[in-house]
């Protein structure tokens, strides 16, 4: 059974329309969504996570999204929004720890939750930031912490809206490499196409709210990218080169 099934998805807001006829995603797949600004990438994530109503068009492991409670959804998938923020001075460790809310049984985090969070903080090399106020970190540091919060939710599926936004090259590579090694199903709009081509297996190319192509890495051609972004595309040493 497919991990995610989308069938006859229609969404309209003002002049913008998003349509997706039929798509299935298998467990563990890593999918990059590519497309111009305003092509519907973030809207699709909002529909997939139930933040926007999708009218029974989306199922997770055979269960319709609308039939899942908030806690069931949180155990099934987690989302890194484009602009994730926290009001008031919470520490980095507290922010990441709260990611486990859907797994917590009691009124406050158990020792196991604290332990798992400490491990994740070490794995993602966030030890130095753990006690700092989240709101006093740089944009890139905040993004890494939010990513850790999303991973700490321990959901099977990750929806990451531009996960490497504000990250430097080294951290971008580290994060994508880390995500590639995980067993999660991953769906992420990505703007850096060469990075996406390096780390993802499957690509959804969106144009004006429509799925232009659903291809594997070997089928991600210059022609397709050119049509998606309205620019000239060539390849140099296995990398895509874009020009106007």
């Amino acid at each position: 059974m497919a991990e995610i099934t989308i069938r006859d998805l229609h969404f309209k807001r003002g002049d913008f329309q998003l349509q997706l006829a039929a798509v299935k995603v298998a467990a563990g797949e890593k999918i990059a969504i590519l497309g111009e600004n305003g092509s519907g990438k973030s809207t699709l994530l909002q529909l997939l996570t139930g933040l926007l109503a999708s009218r029974n068009a989306i199922s997770y492991a055979g269960q319709r999204l609308e039939h899942l409670s908030m806690l069931q959804r949180a155990r099934c998938f987690s989302l890194l929004p484009q602009q994730a923020e926290v009001i008031f001075p919470f520490s980095v460790f507290e922010v990441i720890l709260l990611g486990r809310f859907a797994r917590m049984q009691g009124q406050s985090p158990a020792e196991a939750d604290q332990q798992a969070t400490r491990q994740l903080v070490q794995q993602l090399e966030l030890d130095d930031l753990a006690t700092r106020n989240f709101n006093q970190l740089s944009g890139g540091e905040q993004r890494r912490v939010m990513l850790a919060r999303v991973l700490n939710q321990q959901a099977r599926i990750l929806f990451l809206d531009e996960p490497n936004a504000s990250l430097d090259v080294r951290h971008s590579l580290e994060i994508f490499d880390y995500l590639r090694r995980q067993q999660h199903t991953l769906i992420a709009p990505v703007h850096d196409i060469n990075l996406a081509a390096q780390f993802f297996q499957r690509f959804w190319l969106f144009k004006q709210g429509h799925l232009l192509a659903d291809v594997s890495r070997s089928d991600l051609t210059c022609e397709l990218l050119s049509e998606t972004f309205n620019v000239k595309v060539s390849t140099v040493a296995d990398s895509f080169l874009f020009s106007r």
């Binding site: 949180a74 926290v86 001075p89 709260l98 809310f101 406050s108």
Partner: protein
């Protein structure tokens, strides 16, 4: 830190008991002084502590659920909307027990109006929220002032009452308020972990497993219930709910499990001291409405917050 807070609370309680038109020495009391202490000052000090705790607890919840460091019952217009309901209830001769109910109804109406005006696509604009709160305050105050003219006899003390103060204190009122405070505190404390998630942006909070709409509705209801009952008994005492959650956050961090408790205790402490000051400041036994003292303290604190959080406020 917890010991410090408990110590300060005890000290403030004793200080408030001894303060007033005449200073009472607890170690050397005459018969009359003992009567004054037990019959007049004890219920008054306890009442001020409970009302302070109610307002502070509501402020802690408003600031989190509205994602605005400047939110409290006064700045959201909830207190004046609730006062409007209470005034109309009294003016129309509603039974005393029903006055807080009408205050709750109008208080919730005012809060929801401000919330609806300031929220767009799930994001609350903090500046719009404060502006909407100001407008609700002005409109509610205008209707209250009009009521004073129209129902002059039944509302002769309305101006004094609107400043906020402890003019009628008795044990039954104290008992009702304390019971409500206990009930709301327990309910909110049980949801403290979930409440923490409301500090995140709406998309994150919803996908982390919390039913944001339901939790926000419950929080609004409980916080406004606290404000409505407090306002029905004491009038508008502003800014206690603004100051104390910030003090609690500085001392014990932002985790709501600690913030709810610390804000509640600090609110009790602050209003006990403010009331002690209001009872002692004018020589000759005259009493200042405590709302004037808290408004002065809160006004300065509000300006301080506006200055230090200006960028964050403007950019949401």
């Amino acid at each position: 830190m917890k010991r410090l807070l408990t110590g300060l609370l005890t000290l403030s309680f004793v200080l408030a008991l001894c303060s007033g038109a005449t200073w009472l020495n607890p170690f050397n009391l005459s018969g009359i002084e003992r009567d004054i202490l037990l019959e007049l000052r004890l219920p008054r000090v306890l009442f001020s502590a409970v009302i302070g705790a109610m307002l502070a607890l509501s402020g802690s919840v408003y600031q989190l659920t509205l994602r605005n460091p400047l939110a409290d019952s006064f700045t959201t217009g909830t207190a004046s909307s609730a006062a409007l309901g209470a005034v109309l209830g009294i003016a129309c001769g509603l039974p005393v027990a029903l006055v807080p109910l009408l205050a709750l109804f109008t208080g919730l109406g005012g809060l929801l109006l401000v919330y609806r005006l300031s929220v767009k696509a799930g994001v609350i604009n903090p500046v719009t929220m404060i502006l909407a709160g100001v407008v609700v305050n002005i409109v509610a105050s205008a209707v209250i002032s009009f009521s004073k003219f129209y129902f002059e006899e039944s509302l002769s003390s309305i101006v004094f009452w609107l400043m906020g103060g402890f003019f009628v204190v008795d044990w039954p009122r104290l008992f009702i308020c304390a019971l409500l405070l206990f009930f709301c505190f327990i309910l909110l404390q049980r949801n403290a972990l979930q409440l923490n998630l409301l500090a995140f942006d709406e998309a994150s909070a919803r996908t982390m497993g919390v039913n944001v709409a339901r939790l926000r509705a419950l929080s609004f209801f409980l916080a406004t219930l606290l404000v409505a009952v407090a306002v029905s008994h004491t009038g508008i005492i502003g800014f206690v709910g603004l100051i104390t959650p910030h003090m609690a956050r500085s001392l014990y961090g932002s985790d709501m499990k600690h913030n709810l408790t610390a804000s509640t205790l600090l609110g009790a402490l602050l209003l006990m001291l403010a009331d002690a000051g209001a009872r002692s400041i004018i020589p000759g036994g005259a009493e200042l409405p405590v709302g004037i003292v808290t408004a002065l303290l809160g006004g300065v604190f509000f300006l301080y917050l506006l200055r230090t959080r200006r960028d964050r406020l403007w950019h949401g």
